[in-house]
Symmetry: D2
């Protein structure tokens, strides 16, 4: 059960970065829904390596092959199986680290846990596994229809957009390679990443995600609160260290008299410190949250490390790596979000008999 996520709309994922293919099975897909396969492929393009000069230059076409569950352009209710072949597997880029534990990578923990490690790239620990999430999310988005999910980069290192999402035009996110809808900040972020890359270093960042038109009533009052499911999904994205929704950590410094969201007569609220969720259940207002990513661990500069036998060694990234992960993580954040919202919508259906 460790490679599945979701209760009703559930993705089961498989695949390593350097095996023949990665892929997944999506269960719980309602039947009879139109699916535009080119839109799934388009989301994969947003995630794939080599899409711009500020991402890794590794080239993977990330071409989706759908194997089941869609017939004549519609979901059938049967599980959707899919694969994405691994084509650009320069395993030799990794041969130098076969017996080495890279700092802040999963090499050490993976080896200790399983006693066997596919040293060709990250193996199962590779961020490449998020491509399967993007597929499941892109299908979820098409099923959701009315719900709008918009993620964007709100910070790269210390460069942080000084407006909140309500002051931004979220349709502009994909206008630049860093995926920040504020052009001015986008330029600064891109410059920062270029500079970091030149030094062979990496940098962290943050993504904000906004979910609009969510119906009231999604989420559960005790366990399985909606925010808990979102946090769970986000913390499963490689490199994520932090999650906050609504007022977040800033809200911890506020008083109740300021933080409480006063109702309008129609049940909407004047402020939205709650972030669209009260008592674990969506209230119909915008849901928004922020996700923090650490800097990528693979550096294009020398670092001290150890090998399997506990000897000192030096590692230096070869091949092609991202200096900053957040631009490519935007579609992953959106995909997980779409999966969660759809899952909760379907789960909510069980509250009634027709």
């Amino acid at each position: 059960m460790n490679n599945s996520i979701g209760k009703i709309y559930r993705l089961t994922s498989f695949g390593e970065s350097h095996g023949p293919a990665i892929g997944g099975v999506i269960d719980g897909v309602p039947p009879g829904i139109d699916i535009d396969i080119s839109l799934i492929q388009k989301e994969l393009e947003r995630r794939k390596p080599g899409q711009s000069h500020i991402t890794t230059q590794r080239k993977e076409p990330d071409y989706l092959e759908l194997l089941s569950g869609i017939f004549d352009g519609k979901t059938t209710g049967a599980p959707i199986g899919f694969i994405i072949k691994n084509t650009d597997q320069r395993s030799k880029d990794y041969s130098h680290i076969q017996n080495i534990y890279r700092p802040s990578h999963a090499d050490f923990t993976y080896d200790k846990k399983y006693g066997i490690r596919d040293y060709r790239g990250g193996g199962r620990s590779s961020a490449r596994t998020t491509a399967s999430v993007v597929v499941a999310g892109a299908i979820a988005k098409q099923i959701l229809k009315n719900v709008r999910i918009s993620a964007y980069v709100n910070a790269v290192g210390e460069i942080e957009v000084d407006k909140d999402y309500t002051q931004l035009d979220l349709s502009k996110t994909d206008n630049n390679p860093v995926r920040c809808p504020d052009e001015k900040f986008a330029s600064r972020m891109i410059k920062k990443i270029e500079e970091i890359k030149k030094r062979g270093d990496t940098i962290g960042g943050q993504i904000t995600c906004v979910i609009q038109n969510v119906p009231v009533g999604l989420g559960e009052p005790v366990f399985n609160k909606l925010q808990a499911a979102l946090a769970y999904a986000m913390l499963n994205i490689p490199a994520v260290k932090a999650f906050e929704y609504g007022s977040g950590f800033a809200g911890t410094r506020m008083t109740g008299s300021r933080h409480n969201d006063i109702f309008n007569l129609d049940g909407t609220t004047q402020t939205n410190f709650s972030g669209g969720i009260q008592g674990g259940i969506s209230n119909g207002m915008d849901i928004y949250f922020r996700v923090g990513f650490k800097p990528v661990a693979t550096l294009m500069q020398e670092q001290e490390s150890i090998d399997k036998d506990g000897n000192k060694t030096i590692v230096k990234g070869k091949g092609r790596h991202d200096p900053c992960v957040v631009p490519r993580a935007v579609p992953v954040v959106e995909a997980f979000t779409a999966m969660i919202i759809l899952d909760f919508l379907l789960l909510n259906q069980t509250h009634k008999l027709d």
Copy 2:
């Protein structure tokens, strides 16, 4: 499945704040383990209302009745059923809000979701449900034995302890009612809460939790990462808005060359920005995380609100409420943490056949 948490060591919870009892069933308990029931009761005392002048004065003895699964002081491997009777149910304290939606409470969302609301207190949305978590956590702690879990209040409003956990003596946490191991900061926090309470207002805060002696290898590489399970648990605690582990949001502003944890020859690391988890899997270093709580929504002052029919109204808390939730949330954070760690330890057993 919405009222269960955990995969192997699993708590299923039931009960509303003003019904006859709350309680739960704990499944997946290994047999033959000594349980000291007084230690469970002691954890309940740490959570219960009325324990000090800075918490609600509501008096509930929170007396645990164990109904199954423990025989002659040992776990039997059968599920542990338990109840805690609700004794101090001043339902009349709530009669004034029967048809009112309190700001930033679950009244509105609960009513919209279920179409029926137990208006006597929070009903199922009450934070009282966390008592069941404390029971399951207290049992998990006794099963874990070697793992040490220590949570403490690191901030109340803007008063934030200026040391990290390694500079504090965590055995002193319960020496004061605010549960901050730094006496100087504890005094300031208590004073702040007294002041806030006097104004009929409330304030947010933060809890830090440290897990020590966790074996290497807990957690999964793709979904079900250890940090994701911890985030999920924490975001299910009422009033929690934020979670970060290791370097957290601060890590998003760092470069990889600074953030990477360089190995010592024995596999430990010189720094611990990773927070004890690499690639979703524990690495044997301390795991630490921070949880942010919003200010309590019930104020002892008048606020505008609406009733079920969309009419304007005024609400003001009656009865007995917490001006700041973090001191009582400390045992809840520890309990959820113990449940997760035990669950992952048991899950890890399935990686091998004897």
Copy 3:
């Protein structure tokens, strides 16, 4: 997860026969449904010991205490917690078997599995745990409304009713203590049980269950076929050795040309060898199945056995035991059936978005 059953409508059970109470938590209950508690109690009476001269004389009032999830006579959508206290615990009736493994009982396997055994009665292995199933089933029946579930005894030992269910008046099942709707066969069965009881022996039997007015479409095509869920539930009833639905084992001897159910123009079928399920999915016809029970293992006569240390010994049942389990198992079969049908109905709701 071993003490829960059901995916959406899910019972989590706890309790041993000689502890303070048995009970359970029912999750996934839709809100706003009228519940008549006396009807639940009535189902418990049908299962309870001491109800007639052909069942055990053990007296347990089996009084249901509901602790949550029902308010003002309606389900609230919150989990229903309940307990049934154990009152007539003559543990001394069991002291003679404390270290003995009774033949064809769970003593040996339980002890080997858990290394610890609550020797007071069957402990967790006691058929008394089925009382929790009866509660969950009685609530499911009330939620199902239109679906009619009727189980009856169709055989005691070699005495087998020579008509199928369509030739019987199923409203007469409870007219006699053996729960066989055919009066003539009922008399013969009762006489057989009296005779067996006099000899201190026991006898097996069979129960047929019919489910009427099930909507078309319940069940899944590959795993989670409706018949698989029914078989799973039935084989979890103590003493059950066999399950067949529709044509069952007799169907294995037939040709396809005879066995195929030819359609009427309205989609109903002329025969019903399929037993109301085709390809794992209900087809709207009556679902019917048969369950086989072995003879009760506890005999009121001497049998050879062994103790924990592998020494020969003699056991003889003391106290009060059933000579034939099927009359009391009828409400258990119905309860499990109701739980499964409701679970699949709710699960089916997830096939569509409103």
Copy 4:
């Protein structure tokens, strides 16, 4: 969750008979175990169509492609993704039934449930989906090592082997195309199938399965009894109508004094009416059970039926179908059994901390 089976060792299946491929993902595979891929392929050959003159002449090579989770001949602990391409898809064989509901097929129920039907063959309802089960079972067999699982055909129509499994040499099962280890009965069965086939008719049958060297202690006392999991798996095999283990239906006619299995001093029993399971838990004796299959619904002769619009029509199977399903079902029964036993072995690991 409807397309997954197993709790720890879990297969998630996908694919329709006439899409590009079927396949699955196996989660919960312990790492470091040698896997001989040719043995998996060999099990697929036992199931595949066209293997003898008494099975369907449809030719599918059923060639397994492993995509992940096995590296250098060993399991890695990562999920095993695999596909089997559909190559011999004579969809035109089905064009005549596009709008027709075949008697005793899933056409009607599938259409009513999903509102959309892949009419090319059985679609998701095709028995071809059992190939994925065979893969997961073949891997489970290799992990189990010491446990021996042997299924064989014990009846075709009314021809039933007159010996029980202890009197047969189970190594001879695959010596003949009907997979009956008794040569004399095998000949009669084959003749019967040939005769039935000539008439364009079909016939049912039965499979017995024996599991040897199962350790004591698998299975749970209340829900998730070992026999319940086996029954669930078997009733998910297409065409299965009945399941009995140990004494089965015959046991319902016995007295307790005859049915009880008296212990030997070493904890084994003199008889084995219990079928190797007591109180839901394996006792170390052979586990054996019988599975009943109805006759195949597709006939090579004309039958009355209806179309989607409720008009009368005539159907007659075209293409290539099995006159009797049991010979090809033998590896499926074994595969499901291996999956269940392995799942329970792994689950049992969670009863202890190292």
